[in-house]
């Protein structure tokens, strides 16, 4: 397998990770056990402002569990989730949006019965929150919210180049377009942290390259945590990479450091190479 990391300015960003106070998000000492099975064992990572943090590892290494800890689906047995250096207590999925964190789902998870625009408007909701009462009585504030929401959603669709599908139902669209809509929905809430779960699954090589460029372009506005098993994508877009194997962190560093790490080659690249 050929690995072609895009050269990105790492210096400043790398400094940021070493300083947990500056980190936007992270986990510290997280362990998760399912019955007797240790899914995660003392895992820590952090992501600084404008950084892309990759999490890779072979199947069953604990990537999905770690992702679920980050978004509150799984509560760790020990360890904490950190937001701006402070522990987050009682993290639940519905609190993510309010904390400025957006995530995408494996697959696309669009609302089948809502138009593309409406789908994205639900994601933009964080910024337009009319109370029940004002909406029920159709006060003007709610009208303004509605318009602002629509504009925000339209901008997010345009940014991802799928604005022409705004009035369509997602089920009728090609898969890569649905993926873009789902990403637009995540971005519409103007998060400062984006959690991406296997965003490249089901995409062709060209689409994956576009996805990589897109993720890099987002770093002007937000940090990204990317859980992914496509090595090309991870190596080319990430500033720092955490490598998991059997629930433990076996390596943590820049793409170059990680690629040369014997433990990583052992755990992941070696396996990948023999399989492909």
């Amino acid at each position: 397998m050929e690995l072609r990391p895009v050269t990105v300015p790492l210096g400043k960003a790398t400094d940021a990770t070493t300083d947990d106070q500056a980190a936007v998000f992270g986990v510290a000492g997280v362990s998760v056990r399912f019955g007797g099975l240790v899914a995660l064992d003392d895992v820590s990572f952090s992501v600084g402002p404008g950084q892309v943090r990759g999490v890779i590892g072979p199947n069953g290494a604990g990537k999905t569990t770690l992702f679920n800890v980050c978004c509150g689906f799984v509560r760790p047995d020990t360890g904490t989730v950190l937001r701006h250096g402070r522990p987050v207590r009682g993290l639940r999925p519905h609190r993510l949006a309010g904390m400025g964190i957006a995530r995408t789902l494996q697959g696309v998870g669009l609302f089948a019965g809502l138009t593309v625009l409406e789908n994205v408007m639900v994601g933009a909701e964080r910024h337009a929150r009319a109370g029940f009462a004002s909406t029920l009585f159709a006060l003007s504030r709610s009208d303004r919210d509605e318009r602002a929401l629509r504009e925000r959603a339209e901008r997010a669709l345009a940014e991802l180049g799928v604005e022409s599908y705004a009035a369509r139902l997602p089920g009728s669209l090609p898969y890569p377009v649905q993926k873009r809509v789902s990403l637009a929905r995540a971005l519409a809430g103007a998060p400062d942290l984006l959690l991406l779960d296997e965003p490249a699954s089901g995409l062709g090589a060209d689409e994956m390259a576009e996805l990589g460029e897109l993720i890099r372009s987002l770093t002007a506005r937000m940090s990204v945590v990317l859980v992914e098993h496509h090595m090309d994508l991870v190596m080319s877009v990430c500033d720092r990479i955490t490598v998991l194997d059997f629930g433990r962190v076996v390596a943590d560093g820049t793409p170059d450091e990680v690629r040369d790490d014997p433990a990583v080659i052992d755990a992941y690249l070696g396996e990948e190479a023999t399989h492909s």
Partner: protein, 292 residues
């Protein structure tokens, strides 16, 4: 011809009420996958509240307003307190809970308001219009019934189509998990869905009571017809519920007018069985299969 006109117009007015009941059932089914067997009993209860006020000297309109508001509160309370614990669990649990509510509300109404038939006033004249010297069965009150249902339905359409809150309610109905991730307060949306459904149900209860006798079980037949209408419309579709309600109203009115009123309940069940056999997804639903 005059008979046909009479039967059709009566059927439309009845159908408007069945539409409202069907809509209430659909609102709850869409958001929580629960058929609320207590819908009629809750409407009966709020109608009795209206009746108590009217008998105490308040106007019909105060009674109607209080019935709608108490429907809102009752729907929200029932969802939060009784239904929430069984949401997302085995479907039979929700069935048993709503059946229990049905029995409970009827018993409570009998204790509080008595179980005899009492008459409920109508806000408008119950004597039919005269067309070309002939009296027809369509009354000013029928116009009020149809208009009230239309107004409420337009308001609901506006809420769901054009407001942010309505968008969140629709999103919650499609996927609670994804909605939660996007920051939608799904629990609040479910409560609001039940509350709105109970308002629509209460409206139907008061409308059908107008000029008729009420007792703790006067809604039983109405809610069965409303359920048939909802199934005809596909259970998923608010528009289908409205069309289904009007269709059932007309069909049952023709049965009553031409074949005999004792056959109405039988006809409703025949329609229900026919729909389930021929087109179980209903006329307006795209769903290929339905969970039962």
């Amino acid at each position: 011809m005059q008979q046909f006109l009479n039967v059709t117009l009566t059927g439309l007015a009845q159908g408007a009420v069945y539409s409202a009941i069907a809509l209430a059932l659909v609102l709850i089914w869409r958001s929580t996958r629960i058929v609320n067997f207590a819908q009629g009993a809750m409407a009966m209860f709020t109608t009795y509240i209206a009746l108590s006020l009217i008998e105490a000297g308040q106007s019909y309109w105060v009674g109607l307003l209080v019935a709608l508001v108490s429907g809102l509160v009752l729907g929200a309370l029932v969802e939060r307190v009784v239904v929430r614990p069984v949401e997302g669990g085995p479907e039979l649990n929700a069935v048993i809970v709503t059946l229990g509510l049905f029995v409970g509300f009827q018993a409570l109404a009998a204790i509080l308001f008595g179980s005899t038939f009492v008459s409920f006033p109508a806000p408008f004249d119950l004597r039919g219009f005269t067309v070309g010297g002939v009296n027809i069965a369509f009354t000013p009150n029928s116009i009020f019934v149809i208009a009230a249902v239309v107004v409420v339905m337009l308001a609901l359409v506006a809420l769901f189509r054009f407001t942010n809150l309505g968008l969140q309610m629709r999103a919650s109905a499609f996927s609670q998990e994804v909605s939660r991730l996007l920051g939608v307060r799904v629990g609040a949306m479910l409560t609001l869905g039940w509350a709105l459904a109970a308002v629509v149900g209460s409206l139907a209860g008061v409308l059908i009571a107008g000029g008729n006798l009420v007792s703790p079980n006067y809604m039983d037949a109405v809610v069965v017809f409303g359920f048939v209408a909802a199934v005809l419309g596909g259970l998923e579709s608010p528009g289908g519920a409205v069309v289904g309600g009007l269709t059932i109203g007309l069909l049952l009115s023709y049965v009553s007018g031409y074949l005999g009123s004792e056959l109405v309940a039988l006809a409703a069940l025949v329609i229900l069985v026919a729909v389930l056999l021929v087109r179980p997804q209903g006329l307006f639903s795209h769903a290929a299969a339905r969970r039962v």
